[in-house]
Symmetry: C2
Subunit: 188 residues, 2 copies
């Protein structure tokens, strides 16, 4: 039992299980709040610049990756809210997830959320780097010198999206644990 | 035992375990081969065009996302080769992974590979979409009309990278299963 890799069985098992479920609720609440913040920050990001007699406007919809990020964070907020409520009900009722089809459903949804989240952040980061540094070899000019305020707001949104993704990754490990330990076979 | 969600225990368990390990070896071999192909396809992608008296060249290094994709696929090929050899040794020796620290190590490595793989493909897909369609609002012009051959080769590389990523995602589920079932607690 002194082995740090072993989850304790018997009496202490219940305590670990409870901690895990409380952690899951906390993570889902954090994700819900931060995802709303990301969607609001990036989704309202716009800046108009007047260059001599020409008016030019940058909107978040100019970058398809930002639109993807906003939509994904909206979905992530709703999903986390529903899952968070489910977890709270479970914690207060003290019931344990032992239903395999349901654990599979949660596992698959959490996995999809994790991978789509990484994809959204990676695509947005790539767009952000192009906006910040441009790509002179391809004649794609940098935009952040012109639209400073726009880029700062988008950068903040992206930084928070990184935190949201990290939380979702931890959650996907917890739901993998919750699923696969049901297949444990201690009799071998 | 008729429940499709139950992994059979006892005698049939060993058969399932063996199938899983053979599947793991096959997936790691497929990843190794395809990752080398992606790195070779994208890493040698270049096209020179002469426009009137001006010579212009597109190289894969012009897109930072392609460089990321090539480097990641190189690493993925090496990693899969090493892991594949480990799996083959395990299958031929008939030993079962019951060592928790080692299962944790494999799980963490596979998770990192899965997420970095998704990030590389997403960033490359974003760059590819920009090259294909441009972003007129931002004065980023499309490139694929000019560099047709370059774009087709990069597109093939990206399509294969999608397959590699899918295989890595399945593997990460298998290694999560291999780890977390060690924490199963059938005594409850």
């Amino acid at each position: 039992m002194g082995n740090p890799w072993n989850v304790p069985v018997g009496g202490r098992w219940k305590a670990v299980e409870r901690k895990l479920r409380v952690g899951e609720v906390a993570l889902r609440c954090v994700i819900c709040g931060l995802a709303v913040l990301v969607a609001a920050l990036v989704g309202t990001d716009t800046q108009t610049r007047r260059i001599v007699y020409l008016e030019r406007k940058a909107k978040f919809t100019d970058m398809k990756a930002s639109v993807f990020l906003v939509i994904f964070n909206g979905i992530a907020a709703c999903y986390s809210l529903i899952q968070g409520l489910r977890c709270i009900v479970n914690v207060t009722k003290g019931s344990v997830l032992l239903n395999k089809p349901f654990a599979w459903l949660i596992f698959l949804c959490d996995q999809v959320m994790a991978y789509v989240s990484v994809a959204a952040v990676a695509a947005s980061a790539q767009s952000g780097l192009l906006a910040q540094f441009g790509q002179p070899e391809l004649q794609w000019m940098k935009l952040c010198d012109l639209y400073r305020g726009f880029c700062i707001k988008a950068g903040c949104g992206l930084a928070i999206a990184f935190v949201v993704t990290s939380c979702i990754l931890i959650l996907s490990c917890i739901s993998a644990f919750n699923l696969f330990r049901l297949y444990g076979n201690n009799k071998r």
